[in-house]
């Protein structure tokens, strides 16, 4: 019912090139306070206006999702996400907004990545 962010979302590396596409590892520590493991959905979103997109097998996307089982004790989670350049405004920095649905989608975290030119 309630997933708690123990260690905030971090991106490594904090700066990438878009051409060719580069991958960022997103790290976060979570726990649940229900006493038992919870399955939660993690959603990552990018702003619609800019030219940075997630690279997915289906093509560029502004949103990706993943499932996790969050235990009662804090656990580190990793998600490797790849970014590509696609239509949109040029930015120097973009933010990745994470929404944790447990199933209520009220917990959010955020991290920024900058573009290396």
């Amino acid at each position: 019912m309630a997933v708690i962010i123990v260690g905030r979302l971090a991106a490594q590396p904090g700066g990438i090139r878009l051409n060719p596409p580069e991958t960022v590892r997103l790290t976060q520590s979570l726990r649940t306070n229900t006493g038992v493991a919870e399955d939660v959905q993690i959603v990552y979103d990018l702003d619609a206006s800019h030219n940075v997109w997630f690279a997915t097998p289906q093509g560029p996307s502004k949103t990706i999702q993943t499932l996790r089982s969050v235990p009662a004790s804090p656990q580190n989670f990793f998600d490797d996400v790849t970014f590509i350049q696609a239509p949109g405004a040029v930015v120097d920095v973009f933010e990745i907004v994470q929404t944790i649905c447990d199933p209520a989608c009220r917990m959010r975290d955020i991290v920024t990545v900058h573009i290396i030119i």
Binding site: M1, A2, I4, I5, V6, R8, G14, G15, N33, T34, D47, S49, H50, A89, V90, V91, D92, V93, F94, E95, V97, R106, M107, R108, D109, I110, V111, T112, V113, H114, I116, I117
Partner: protein, 600 residues
């Protein structure tokens, strides 16, 4: 006095005057101000510049090189001086620092107007300059001294001083103090972590502006740093973005976390309200309180940490709201403060209160579990409760029960407010680190090219000197000494060598005087104009700084040779003269110095 004696006296005076010529050639009427601690005569007239007042403390000298002296502002390493001259008054323009976008500032970088006014150029090019020698800094004020080429008389002048100023430690500290709030406020305005190149450049401009507020409105010279508008954007971009991220990663978490906190608080309030208004819980507590007087074991169950937990059951609606908002039981914050504050300590107050509520709810759950749980050590205490009441109580602490949900909610809020507090602390530290980094850069690499202007003029009275010499009248083949006055038609600086600053009007003067000896003849056909003096009226040219050749007319009384004619008329005879053009004021100053020491 016999004529021959008067002639010798006159020659003696001439010799004395020549001998009394001051050895040190100071300005014509320029006040000499010594600003150095040594008594060494620099050999130039000095003009003291008051840079603060943007003026000189005296009329400027002309026709001779001179030195502008003054106190160099702190941190100044180089001063360049230029002037512009005109017969009209020049309103020395205030040099506006470059403004606008980075590109516009760069385009204007280092450019200074070539003219003070239309057709009035700044000169010399390059400017006359003074450079500080890197001796050990004793903290004493530094005197600058710039030698200038001769100015023209009767002109208005505008002066332009260009300073190269290395930032001082104090300025760097001041910049840091200024930069922190600028960065803080500037970053607060950033509503998104998606930063465009234009937004980044705007932030950089704000930093340059903050620097100028500290070091003064000048042209910042900091090659390779973000403070130099000409620094290639690519050079500073990466470093700036990393610093930006360090701040924004924290700030944006606060933003999005606060966006969901209201919903969590509502949930907590509803669940606390459900606990407070639960009939089964109320009944149990009332029953135990009744029995506590007679049964010490039960009284013990209501004491200590349990009493704090059980207070959740008896509190009023207002207390429930306060607990849910995180403003109770401790502190003076209001509910809205959590959303508006940027202070980690204020948010910490909320986190502490949620921790307290969490502890109480955890304790309440344990207390109930100990009473009605499957392995309750106090099962006998609730032995008399109806099954319905027992089930209602068990439901409270089971999954989805009000006590459990309230506990989870308090846990979530404590965690979220703790994360917000940590984010604000991290943001604060990132801004301090950023300001500290820029402070070092400012101290190490920033020089400011500041400019100020001032006005002066070379207006002085026309030069009048004494004239002492001999006139020779060829028509009467007489030679007599005379004394007179030379009237020039412009100011003349006698310290300016004629070889360098000659010209007709510096040499030419009208002469009016009287002879020192009689030109009367024995036949009485020629008598002096008054007593034993005749008038000398003419003009002359200085051949050297002090020797003048003249010509003109000597005016006397003329009597006819015929003894039958008594009429006396005014007679005139031409003369040529050689004389000493004598700067009376200066000579007396020289004589005064000889007898009474140096006169400043």
């Amino acid at each position: 006095m016999p004529r021959i004696l008067r002639t010798f006296v006159c020659l003696g005076i001439l010799s004395a005057l020549i001998a009394a010529l001051p050895g040190s050639a100071s300005g014509q009427t320029t006040t000499t101000t010594t600003t150095t601690t040594t008594a060494i005569d620099p050999g130039f007239p000095e003009v003291t510049a008051d840079l603060g007042a943007r003026s000189f403390r005296q009329v400027l000298p002309f026709d001779v090189p001179f030195q502008i002296v003054g106190t160099a502002p702190e941190g100044v390493t180089k001063i360049g001086v230029q002037y512009a001259q005109s017969k009209e008054k020049i309103d020395a323009p205030v040099i506006a620092p470059p403004a606008g976008s980075l590109e516009e500032q760069c385009a204007a970088h280092g450019l200074k107007p070539m003219e003070a006014a239309p057709g009035v150029p700044w000169e010399p090019v390059p400017p006359a300059a003074w450079e500080k020698i890197g001796l050990v800094d004793t903290g004493a004020a530094t005197t600058f001294r710039v030698t200038m080429q001769p100015l023209d008389a009767l002109q208005y002048y505008a002066f332009r001083f260009d300073f190269k100023v290395d930032t001082t430690t104090e300025q760097a500290n001041a910049f840091r103090a200024k930069a922190e709030p600028v960065l803080d406020e500037g970053m607060k305005q950033v509503q998104s972590g998606n930063l465009t190149p234009e937004q980044r450049k705007a932030l950089r401009l704000n930093l340059i502006k903050a620097l100028k507020q500290v070091v003064g409105e000048g042209d910042v010279i900091a090659p390779g740093t973000l403070f130099d508008p000409c620094t290639d954007d690519d050079v500073v971009r990466e470093d700036f973005l990393q610093s930006f991220q360090a701040v924004m990663n924290q700030q944006r978490f606060r933003d999005i976390s606060l966006g969901g906190i209201g919903g969590l608080q509502d949930d907590l309030r509803q669940n606390l309200e459900a606990v407070r208004s639960n009939a089964a819980l109320d009944s149990l507590l009332a029953s135990l309180q009744q029995r506590a007087a007679a049964e010490p074991a039960i009284a013990n169950l209501l004491q200590g940490t349990n009493s704090q937990a059980l207070a959740l059951i008896t509190m009023d609606a207002g207390q429930v709201t306060a607990l849910a908002a995180g403003v109770a039981p401790q502190g003076t914050s209001k509910a809205g403060d959590l959303v508006t504050t940027w202070s980690p300590s204020t948010v910490d107050g909320f986190a502490s209160n949620y921790q307290d509520t969490l502890n109480r709810l955890t304790a309440l759950k344990s207390w109930l579990d100990d009473l009605i749980g499957p392995s309750s050590p106090n099962a006998s205490v609730v032995a008399g409760l109806a099954d319905g009441q027992l089930q209602a109580l068990r439901a409270l602490i089971g999954p989805g029960g009000a006590v459990e949900l309230a506990r989870q909610g308090a846990d979530l809020l404590q965690s979220e407010t703790g994360n917000i507090r940590d984010s604000l602390s991290g943001r604060q530290k990132a801004i301090q680190d950023l300001a500290g980094k820029y402070e070092e850069q400012v101290l190490r690499e920033v020089t400011v090219d500041a400019t100020t202007t001032g006005n002066g003029n070379t207006f002085q009275n026309y030069y009048i000197s004494a004239d002492l010499g001999f006139v020779y009248m060829p028509d009467i083949t007489e030679s007599v000494p005379y004394v007179g006055t030379n009237i020039y038609f412009r100011p003349v600086n006698k310290n300016a060598p004629l070889s360098q600053r000659g010209g007709f009007w510096r040499r030419f003067a009208l002469t009016v005087g009287v002879t020192l000896d009689s030109i009367a003849d024995d036949e009485m056909t020629r008598q002096d104009f008054s007593g034993s003096q005749s008038l000398v009226v003419g003009a002359g040219l200085r051949m050297t700084e002090s020797i003048r050749l003249g010509f003109g007319a000597l005016v006397f009384k003329k009597r006819d040779r015929s003894p039958l004619v008594d009429d006396v008329t005014t007679g005139v005879t031409p003369y040529v003269s050689v004389s000493f053009d004598w700067n009376v004021a200066k000579t007396f100053k020289g004589i005064g110095s000889t007898f009474f020491g140096s006169v400043q």
